[in-house]
Structure formats: C-alpha cells, structure tokens
Symmetry: C2
Subunit: 392 residues, 2 copies
C-alpha cells in the first residue's frame, strides 16, 4: 500500500539506532547511571561560547534567513575554497564548493550526481552502513573491501582486485567510523596509483568520495593527509557536526577537486541534486556561523582523555584493542567469534555496544566514547564481568 521497497527495508533498520533505543529502555528501567551506553556517536560537549555568540549575533542580520543560491552563500563558499586550497595546494574556487545539510546530505547529493543504476562503489570495511542507503538510493551497488585486521589500514591489493568496469567511486572515511583509524599517506599514495591504473584499464576515472566529518578529531599529533591533494578525482564531503559539536543543525560542505576533468559539470550536477533531492540549501545561519570556525575542534582534550581511560579499562579487562588516533570510537576485537552474541551478552550487563557486523566487519565491536567520565569509570566492572561470563 505504501512503498513496498521501503516497507521491506524497515525491518533491516540501523543497528546503531536499534542499540540506541535499547539503551534508552534500559535507562528507563535501571536509571541512567546504571547503564553504560556506548552506542551513539553523539558529540556530548556543548559548542564553544564563540559559536553560540555567533549564532546570537547573526540571528538578526538582515536577509540572513532568506533563500540564497542552492549552492549556498557565495562569501561562505569563497572562504571554504580558500581553506581547501591551503590544505590541498590546489586552486579551489567558490564554484567548487556546495554547502549541504550535513555530511549525510553531502554524500546523497554526491552519489546522486555520480551514479547511474548498476554503478559500483567500493567501501573499506568497517564502514558506516548508511553508505548503503546513499549509494543504493541511486541504484548503485556497494562493494565492501575489508581493511587489514587490527590496523584497519586499506588493503590496496584487495581494492585493485575489486575494481571492475562498473566501479564509479570509492569511499574513504579517515579518521574512520568505527575503527578510529587514520589512513597513512603511503596507503593513499598506493591507492592513488591503483586508481590511475584502473582509469588506464577501463577508460574512466574511479572517483574518490572522501567523507571527512572526523578530520579535526585527531590525537597524538597525527596528521590526516589531504585527500584532495593526493587524488585529482576527489570529492571531499565535510561536516561540522563533530568539529563544532553541532550535529543536530545539519551543516557541511562538498568540495570538488578543481583539477578534475569536467569539474564544472560536476559542480553544476551537485547544485542541481541539492535542489531536486529536496535539500534546497544548507541552513542559512549555520553557513555563516561555521565559516568563522573552520579550524576549531570542540572538546578534543576531553575526547583524548576518555579514549585513554576507556582503552586502559578494556585492555586491563583483557580485550584486544588498537588505540586509534582519530574519531571518538574504539573498535576492539570481540572475545568470542560471534560479535552479535557478544553485544547481547554486554546488554545483559547493561552495557551498550554496537556489533562490528553493523559495520560489515564481524568479530569486532564499536564503543563511542562521547560519554561522561563516570560512564566510562562505571563500565570497568561491567567489562570485567562480561569477560568472566565469557570465561576469558
């Protein structure tokens, strides 16, 4: 009666959101202090005062709440182009920037502009499963290629082997959700060579769609290599949800590498897609707010401290875990082969984790440390008891 396609999909839901709902139920039953909910990557710091001050100052600016070009305010796009140019060493202009309703919108708009039905998109597992929707809504097909166990680095030979004549794009997401891995420069350079070879073989580019919401959430002095510098055929999708702690406001941008062939056509396609998919434009006031804070990373010290706390608790309890240098997740190995069974056991100890299967990477599980120090401390006993129950 309604869309058969959508009703069929409803059952499959999002594992992250399902765990989020489970967590809320447990909290209602046992009290929030007695539930250790690591399910959702919902940045918990408040935006910095300067950001709040900017919202207040801009709220009354004449004309700010009106329609603008579907691509966004020109002055905002110019500033982001300058920022992208400085990071990449390429000459971005305002024409190459489209302001979007968050990174999810940016990815939808990008794949709507790139894909025809049957086109293939490579993802590097573990990966954020919403990519399946953003690609699938355009009739595209996701081809996951696992990263290396433990390091979660791209497996470039495996990517080479996965590219076919129908491969239109590859999604990079570094720092990675859920592994926290920051892909090193050498891996990206090797991947770049693989994509050049594929272009030579198949006669068309494989576009790199770089999903970078965690680009500023990094630790220990690690550098995130500029994808736009390394890959000529790149589309950078960014969001201020994490860096400015504004996830509910839905604001981000898409940047087309200016050295891509026919980039003007892609610029126009993105603006067209932004309009016709129903986004119309990114929220007006937040375009003007974020552009004042392009280098800011709200709450970074607190994230790092909590990463270290949770990492110590987990490894102390006997979990095998790589210490990641980005994002705000840990992705330990499940102590039993079945990660979904592990998540169910953890739930019985009022501990909410998301099974790696929810990221197309079974045998691991994700913890978001966007939670209070108390939640992390309180979870120590639970993790030890979970391990005891499992018999490790």
């Amino acid at each position: 009666m309604f869309s058969k396609k959508i009703c069929d999909s409803l059952a499959s839901g999002s594992m992250i959101r399902a765990m989020f709902e489970q967590g809320n139920k447990l909290k209602a039953q046992f009290g929030a202090d007695n539930v250790f909910d690591f399910a959702l990557g919902n940045p918990d710091p408040e935006p910095d005062q300067e950001i709040i001050d900017d919202i207040r100052a801009l709220a009354g600016e004449p004309g700010i709440h009106k329609y603008m070009s579907n691509a966004g305010f020109t002055d905002v796009r110019e500033k982001i182009a300058d920022h992208m140019s400085a990071e990449s060493g390429r000459a971005f202009t305002a024409e190459d920037i489209v302001m979007v309703v968050g990174a999810a919108a940016g990815l939808s708009v990008t794949f709507h502009s790139l894909l025809d039905p049957g086109d293939e998109v490579i993802t590097l597992a573990p990966y954020f499963m919403e990519y399946n929707s953003y690609v699938g809504n355009q009739g595209g097909v996701v081809r996951p290629v696992p990263t290396l166990r433990g390091s979660f680095r791209p497996d470039v030979p495996a990517i080479r082997a996965a590219i076919t004549a129908r491969t239109k794009a590859i999604i990079l997401n570094s720092p990675n959700n859920p592994s926290g891995a920051v892909y090193p420069e050498e891996d990206l350079v090797a991947l770049s060579e693989a994509l050049d070879d594929a272009e030579a073989e198949f006669g068309h580019p494989v576009y790199v769609v770089s999903d970078e919401p965690y680009a500023k959430i990094i630790y220990d002095g690690v550098k995130v290599p500029s994808v736009a510098r390394i890959f000529r055929n790149s589309i950078t999708v960014n969001s201020f949800s994490k860096s400015l702690a504004l996830p509910g406001e839905r604001i981000g941008f898409v940047a087309v590498c200016p050295d891509m062939a026919d980039k003007d056509l892609l610029d126009a396609a993105l603006v067209y897609s932004n309009r016709t998919l129903g986004f119309v434009n990114a929220p007006a006031i937040f375009q003007k707010v974020v552009v004042n804070h392009l280098d800011r990373a709200v709450g970074l010290d607190a994230y790092r401290e909590r990463r270290d706390m949770l990492y110590d608790i987990l490894t102390g309890a006997g979990f095998e875990c790589t210490k990641p240098q980005g994002a705000f997740y840990l992705f330990p190995k499940s102590p039993i082969p079945d990660d979904k069974e592990f998540a169910a056991i953890a739930l019985r100890h009022r501990t909410i984790v998301v099974a790696g299967s929810g990221f197309s990477y079974p045998g691991y599980f994700r913890l978001s440390y966007c939670v209070s120090r108390d939640t992390i401390k309180g979870s120590e006993k639970a993790f030890r008891e979970i391990m005891k129950e499992i018999g490790q």
Copy 2:
C-alpha cells in the same frame, strides 16, 4: 562519466531559477532600481523580532544542538500534533509528526515512503514543477490534470478520469503556487468522494499529499479548509519558510492522518526515509523556534497591500487576471498565446516574469509580489509598454 541521468537533466533546469539568474544579470547591467523582478517567491520581510529573540534565547540551551530522534524533538512533535488536532478535529499524536528540512524535504521523504517505480501521482496544474523531481526520484510518474481556466479550481471530473490502478497519490497545494487559488471546501469534498470511489474500484487508497507552505498566507478573510479533516488518507506537508519568513533555514513538518489504515507503518517509513535519504533530522534549534509561532504569518498586511497594487496595475494596463486570496503570486493570462514569447518580450522591458509553461499551464504567467512597493510602482510603465508593443 558522472551520472548520465543527472547530466541529461541539467539542461532542463528550473525555469524559475533561470529567470532569477536573468534578473540578476539585468540588475548588474541597468541597476537594481531599473529592473522589475517578479521571478522568485523569496519572502522579503524579515522574521518578527520575537522569532529572532527565540533564536538568541535558544542558542545557548544545553543539548539543543545535539542529535535527537530522526523524527525530531518529542516535545516539538507533541505541540504540532495538538495544533493539527485542533485544526482537523482528528487525534494526532507525536508519533504522527516528523520534523523535516523544509517542505521540499517533506515531499521527498513522503514520496520515498509511498512510491514504488511506475506508481503515478496526480498533480493539479498549474503546479510547482519541483514535484516532478520529488516524484521522479522515486521512479514515480507525474500525471498533471489542469484546473479550470481563470478560477484555477480543481476539475474533479477530469481527476476522476485520470485515476488508474497505478495512481498512488494526488498532490494538493492550496493556497496554490503559482495561481494563488484557495481550493474551496466543496471542491475538496467532491474530490474526497472521487477518491473513495477510486479506492472501491481499485482496492487501494489514493493518498492525498497536501503541500501547505502558504496555508497562513491568506487574505480577505478566506478560510483554508483542513485537508486532514476532509481526507482520511492524507499526509500534510508544511513549512515555516513563508509564514515565519525563514526560507533559508529549511524547517517544516510532515503529519500523517491518524485515521489512515496502517498509519504506524507510514509513520515509521517517513522516519526511515528522513534518515536514509540523508536529511537525518530537521535543524535542531529551528524545531524549537517554530513551535512557538505556529499561528504566526509574518508580513501579511504588506503582502495584501502589494497584491492589490500589482493587481490594479495589471488590470489597468489591460491584463486579464483573477485576484487570488492566497500565497504571494498573481497568475495573469498572457496577452499572446505563447507565454514563453511573452516572458521574452517582458524581459526586453527589464521585467522578469515566469511563463505559465514553467508550471505546466501555458498561456499564463506568474508574478511574485515578494518585492518592494517601489518595484511594483516602477513596473506600471513597463507593463503598459509591453502591452503597447504587443498591440493590445
């Protein structure tokens, strides 16, 4: 190389946006005061001070900028449900309300939830051509049925004749863009009977998707009948772009009639579609802002005054025009049969209008009176000269 489908569509563009660009070019050449630009329905009043005050007050509220349920804040949805219940006499609950990124997003989410490829959607011409995208992106097909000439009222017998076994929905948009017509209660009741008959004949409902961004932009004491009251199988899509003069902020809602069969399934499908299409949630702070101003209509007196001024100028110059009771457009008859040729002639007189063909209703043209009184006054001479050139 990019999406063939999208590149092919790019050429067809939006006639409204094309005229908007033309207007900007002319303004650069002749100065803004010497161009009479009636192309774009961009609400020109500033939001009321109470709205700006609310943005400022809410900007620092703890937690307000975080993720919430994909459906929106529960307290906001409860207030909108109460409002819908009062207007319709039906018992809406928060579950029936999904906050969305403006009405365009609401329509995309609704059709994604309703349609399978090949499903048909009836529109009443003249209509906002973006509907073609919102329906077409889901593989649906738009079947326009012209309203009656001059009154622009629904032609119920013609709608009856257009319904087939594949008809899944009909879009209503009253007050109408571009005609300004407010569909009278008796027409909607007659339509309701036609849809009941179709449901009996074909064994499934024809859903009414009511696009209501202009519901509060009404004049002369006219009443806009509640679609949710008249049609059990209705989905109301609303936006605060026009009523609160916040078009750039992208905030609206979708309301599912609580007396529809299987409405829980549609509620869930809308939330799923909101997430998987990449909208995720409506901008957080604006959810909280708009719910304080559900009955407000910013700038109504100024719109009415300008409607009357422009109407008098046009009819004084010899144009045939119905005086509409809603929205902020006039939709006069083109004095020559070819409305695109007429728009081209007007352009030579530095007057920007949109041909009725841009709304699937040739022989007419649209003027938005979201413009200054000076623009309207200044256009009088131009309209007289246009008529002289045409030889009327």
